[in-house]
């Protein structure tokens, strides 16, 4: 089952033009989501300084890539102050995300 999910995810990665672009940043994000739902600003605060990550937008972008391949989903929204007015979406890791996470632990880049 996990192997089938992984193959489907790899196919999605190709379809979304993300080959070679899913790596440590995405793994770090999914690890922070493994126990709680968080928004981009909160994730950034937890992983800043690792893997050269120094800006919230880098996290916003990587989360969006994970969402496109079905590894995270929008779970709600929170007001965090990243921007002045809008609420930020919060995210949860999906079953597919757990599978990808394990694969990224095995090989660093997909």
């Amino acid at each position: 089952m996990a192997a089938e999910t992984l193959e489907k995810t790899k196919e999605l990665i190709r379809k979304e033009h993300l080959e070679g672009l899913i790596g440590t940043t995405h793994s770090l994000i999914m690890k922070t989501l493994s126990s709680q739902e968080l928004c981009a600003t909160e994730i950034f605060e937890k992983i800043r300084g690792q893997n050269y990550i120094t800006a919230q937008y880098q996290v916003v972008r990587a989360i969006d890539q994970l969402r496109r391949i079905g590894c995270v989903r929008v779970a709600g929204k929170k007001k965090t102050g990243f921007m002045a007015a809008p609420y930020e979406p919060s995210y949860a890791i999906t079953e597919t995300g757990h599978v990808l996470q394990r694969e990224l632990d095995r090989q660093k880049r997909l």
Partner: protein, 640 residues
């Protein structure tokens, strides 16, 4: 020779003799310099002699459009004006959006070259094939909005496109710019002052011919694909930038510690939320507007309904207005920033030059370098919105002591107020765009090595904070560029961005079209050029053209005597750590800056000691003639 994309005709207007000639476009120029900025830069290098005064009749004022201008290519409605700059006394150009550039293409012209200086005020009227100079005595003295209205009425067509100068340009005030569509300023480098020195009040255009495209079906496909990439691969950016426009940067840069505050003393403003793009949108924006062929509609029509600035209307209230007249001057009154922007538009003043010059003036006033006598009694304390508006008015009209001081721009004014030059935040004499470089090192290097002086748009290294490290590794060659406080890879990133941005400006395509999606950087320019012009373009060829354009501009500056010493940031950024906000304590260490600069010169194959281009670099780009010229005057770099 017939072209697709390019109109194929250059207009050459001699303002001294009153003559107008039409010249065919040369294929060699088209294929090596692409259009717009590239064409203008090459013409400036070839035709404007070294060492002249920027207001000398020998200086030329060149307006250029790109091969995609006037087509459906997204965000391709821009145009560039180029001349030797009175702000930097070196290479100068400025770029604007709106609809004027597209109208010029539809009239059948890629470039207009103005030569000589007219004795009396004139305007140029281009009505497709009919081109004539006309007297502008009745327009001289009118502001930009009055001039635009008067010309539309006089010529009987409300849809005419007008680019003109206001009182600031007429008076050779160095912050003067050229404005089209009432509010679209070609701001940098004092181009409005050069236009004023030529007594050229306006260029009015009516074009009805359209643009011939080589492969229309293919172009539609490429355009649809690229918009789809933007909407899916850069979703957050597309949605938020479309809604809020550049004012969204107030809070974005605040969170990065990169919001210039109190004349670049800090990168964090305690009242930033009062200036946010979200607040502007919710309180003042009545309608969204767009440049020609834009997919974002980032511009906004604003109305102030109440308070001391009630009745103010304005369009294109950008981050450079809300942040520039806001945090940079310690002012949290958002409505006053709209009023200040509108006043600048009417007077024909560039926002960046204006706000940096005012920042210098306010800090100099605080430190005692400027006295009440200098300001004619005006209180230039931080955060005084009424004083800001009055100072802008005097800058535009060169009125009184303060008007004379401000009209010189911060660098030249600072030279006359001993000790205040430290507070003039300029590079090569040019005021900087609104990004604090201490926590954004690639931006710092980009500012410093910009060919038109301190400028964020020449490089705009958005990948530093918008690419993921994985994308950075794949497309730039190292993930290290994602570390905003790291030096490694920054030389490579900045050179790459400068080459790409040179192509943005030569296509006359807005830089906001590609920000976060690497695919757009890599695929878009070659695909649209191929479909539009019918010639085969590749990513490599496009990058080479960008590099060639950058080297020509660099050669112009080197010929004027500029070198490595001019590729540095103002001392403040090396000496003063930020003291507030999330990145308090951050400074740009000079030894790290030197490492970035040396990596940058190495990537460019320029002399690391002098910063001058080498024969090898120029020859590789087909610029051997320039290498010979620089060699003759002893301004050629040595290869490692």
């Amino acid at each position: 020779m017939e072209f697709y994309g390019w109109s194929g005709t250059t207009l050459r207007v001699n303002l001294e003799k009153g003559t107008i000639k039409k010249e065919p476009l040369k294929e060699e120029l088209a294929l090596n310099y692409v259009g717009g900025r590239g064409f203008n830069s090459k013409i400036l290098y070839d035709e404007v002699p070294q060492g002249i005064d920027p207001f000398d009749p020998e200086n030329k004022l060149i307006f250029g459009t790109g091969p995609c201008t006037g087509t459906i290519v997204p965000c391709s409605g821009r145009w560039t004006v180029t001349a030797k700059s009175p702000t930097t006394d070196a290479f100068g150009d400025a770029n604007a959006g709106g609809h004027w550039g597209a109208e010029l293409k539809w009239a059948g012209y890629d470039v207009i070259v103005f030569e000589g200086n007219s004795k009396n005020p004139v305007y140029l009227f281009i009505d497709d094939n009919n081109v004539q100079l006309a007297k502008a005595d009745d327009l001289w003295g009118l502001d930009v909005w009055e001039t635009t209205d008067a010309l539309k009425e006089k010529l009987g067509d409300p849809d005419l496109e007008v680019a003109c100068i206001g009182p600031a340009g007429e008076r050779l005030s160095l912050p003067a710019c050229v404005i089209s569509n009432y509010t679209r300023g070609a701001g940098k480098c004092g181009m409005g002052a050069v236009m004023g020195s030529k007594k050229l009040k306006a260029i009015v255009v009516r074009g009805t011919k359209g643009v011939r495209v080589a492969h229309p079906e293919e172009l539609i496909k490429v355009v649809e694909e690229s918009i789809d990439i933007l909407k899916t691969e850069d979703k957050w950016w597309f949605e938020n930038f479309s809604k809020y426009g550049t004012p969204i940067f107030v809070m974005l840069f605040q969170h990065l510690g990169a919001l210039p505050t109190y004349n670049w003393r800090e990168g964090w403003f305690e009242r930033a939320e009062e200036l946010s793009g979200e607040l502007l949108y919710n309180k003042y924006v009545k309608k969204k507007r767009a440049c020609n062929a834009c997919v974002y509609h980032c511009s906004a029509y604003c109305v102030v309904d109440e308070g001391p600035y009630a009745g103010t209307v304005g369009e294109g209230v950008e981050y450079e207005a809300t942040g520039g007249f806001g945090s940079k001057l310690g002012n949290a009154d958002l409505a006053s920033t709209i009023a200040a922007k509108t006043l600048c538009d009417k007077l024909g003043i560039d926002l960046i030059n204006c706000t940096d010059t005012l920042g210098w003036a306010m800090e100099s006033y605080e430190k005692g370098f400027l006295t009440k006598e200098d300001t004619d009694g005006l209180d230039l304390s931080w955060g005084n919105p009424d004083a800001i508006l009055e100072a802008i008015r005097r800058m535009g009209y060169r009125e009184g002591n303060l008007g004379e001081i401000l009209a010189r721009g911060s660098r030249k004014a600072a030279r006359e107020k001993k000790g205040s030059d430290y507070y003039s935040i300029t590079i090569k004499g040019q005021q900087m765009g609104l990004v604090e470089p201490r926590p954004m090192w690639a931006w710092g290097l980009g500012f410093a090595t910009s060919t038109r002086g301190g400028d964020h748009l020449r490089t705009q290294p958005a990948p530093e904070f918008m690419f993921t490290p994985e994308e950075a590794e794949k497309f730039i060659g190292t993930p290290k560029i994602s570390d905003r406080f790291g030096w490694e890879g920054k030389g490579r990133l900045v050179a790459w961005c400068q080459n790409i941005r040179a192509i943005n400006d030569s296509l006359e395509n807005c830089k906001y079209f590609f920000r976060g999606s690497p695919r757009l950087y890599v695929e878009f320019p070659a695909k649209v050029l191929t479909a539009t012009t019918g010639y085969e373009w590749t990513y490599e060829k496009v990058l080479e053209c960008g590099e060639r354009i950058y080297n020509v501009e660099k050669a112009y500056n080197v010929r004027e005597g500029l070198g490595r010493q001019d590729d540095y940031l103002p001392e403040r950024f090396y000496k003063e750590p930020l003291s507030k906000g999330p990145f308090a304590g951050t400074v740009m260490p000079k030894e790290k800056f030197d490492l970035m600069l040396e990596e940058y010169y190495k990537v460019r194959d320029w002399d690391q000691k002098t910063g001058m281009p080498t024969r090898r670099a120029l020859k590789r780009l087909g610029l051997e003639k320039i290498a010979n010229e620089l060699g003759k005057v002893g301004r050629l770099g040595k290869a490692e």
